[in-house]
């Protein structure tokens, strides 16, 4: 009877080491997993990354401190439909737009501007260094 009970105990799966390993795996995945819905926004870097001296250069889009934008001698508020229409026109022409943010604008503002360009259909986007 004793021998029979002893054999039954030996045949059982040892649960403690199993739980140890599973807990370690669980901790690893909990700490290293990310649930952020990450996307990306891509752009080209122009050959000359220096600031072009004038804001009147062709399709040179400069975002000012107050987030208004100047392009081809025109100034727009970003939210204004006229800006969207102008971007749509540039998209139809398959024009390349070079973007430069003011150095005080945040990265978030720059990304939002790039979003606007993409949503308007502009696909050829360059981003160059900020201006002051």
């Amino acid at each position: 009877m004793l021998q029979f009970e002893h054999q039954r105990r030996v045949l059982k799966i040892p649960l403690t080491p199993l739980i140890d390993v599973v807990f370690i795996l669980l901790l690893f995945f909990m700490l290293s997993s990310s649930f952020l819905d990450t996307r990306m926004i891509g752009f080209a870097i122009p050959e000359s990354s220096t600031i072009v001296s004038s804001s009147t250069d062709e399709n040179w889009l400069r975002m000012s401190e107050n987030q208004s934008v100047a392009i081809n001698g025109k100034t727009f508020l970003q939210q204004h439909p006229a800006f969207t229409s102008y971007l749509a026109k540039l998209a139809r022409e398959q024009a390349k737009v070079t973007v430069s943010a003011h150095s005080s604008n945040s990265i978030q503002m720059l990304v939002e501007l790039l979003d606007r360009l993409r949503n308007a259909g502009v696909t050829r986007i360059d981003v160059t260094r900020s201006w002051e």
């Binding site: 739980i19 909990m30 003011h102 945040s106 990265i107 978030q108 979003d115 949503n119 900020s130």
Partner: protein, 133 residues
């Protein structure tokens, strides 16, 4: 015999109590394995929000600009300039570069990356964002 029997009964009972816990732990493990994505931890970077629908593809070179302005390449904080580091890496021109940059940093924080990539002959950059929708 009595002692062995009592121990066996106690052990068997405690094991059977563990089974629901193991079930739950296994479910949690499977959830984290399937639903999560293993990434390098970036508690110092608050990603910009974007409406971009481009699904993230890991870049061949990953540059992090932390909220304190520090720069990491492939997870290693740089002591020198980024330009020199990229020159030392001798990257091919078509290298895909992904940048993780904190959204609260000024746009000028991107300047040194743009200039360093340009100097290395790389003409495209991807910024990692989170979905705004």
């Amino acid at each position: 015999v009595g002692i062995v029997k009592r121990n066996f009964v106690t052990s068997s009972k405690s094991d059977s109590d563990l089974i629901p816990m193991i079930n739950i732990i296994f479910l949690l493990l499977v959830f984290f394995m399937v639903a999560g994505t293993i990434t390098r931890h970036h508690s110092l970077i608050e990603y910009p929000e974007s409406l971009s629908e481009s699904i993230r593809e890991p870049g061949e070179l990953e540059i992090d600009v932390l909220s304190d302005g520090g720069i990491q390449v492939e997870g290693i904080r740089l002591d020198g300039t980024l330009s020199r580091h990229l020159r030392d890496l001798e990257l091919p021109e078509n290298t895909s570069v992904t940048c993780r940059i904190d959204r609260n940093l000024p746009a000028s924080a991107l300047d040194q990356i743009i200039l360093a990539l340009r100097d290395s002959g790389i003409d495209r950059l991807q910024i990692l964002t989170t979905w705004k929708g």
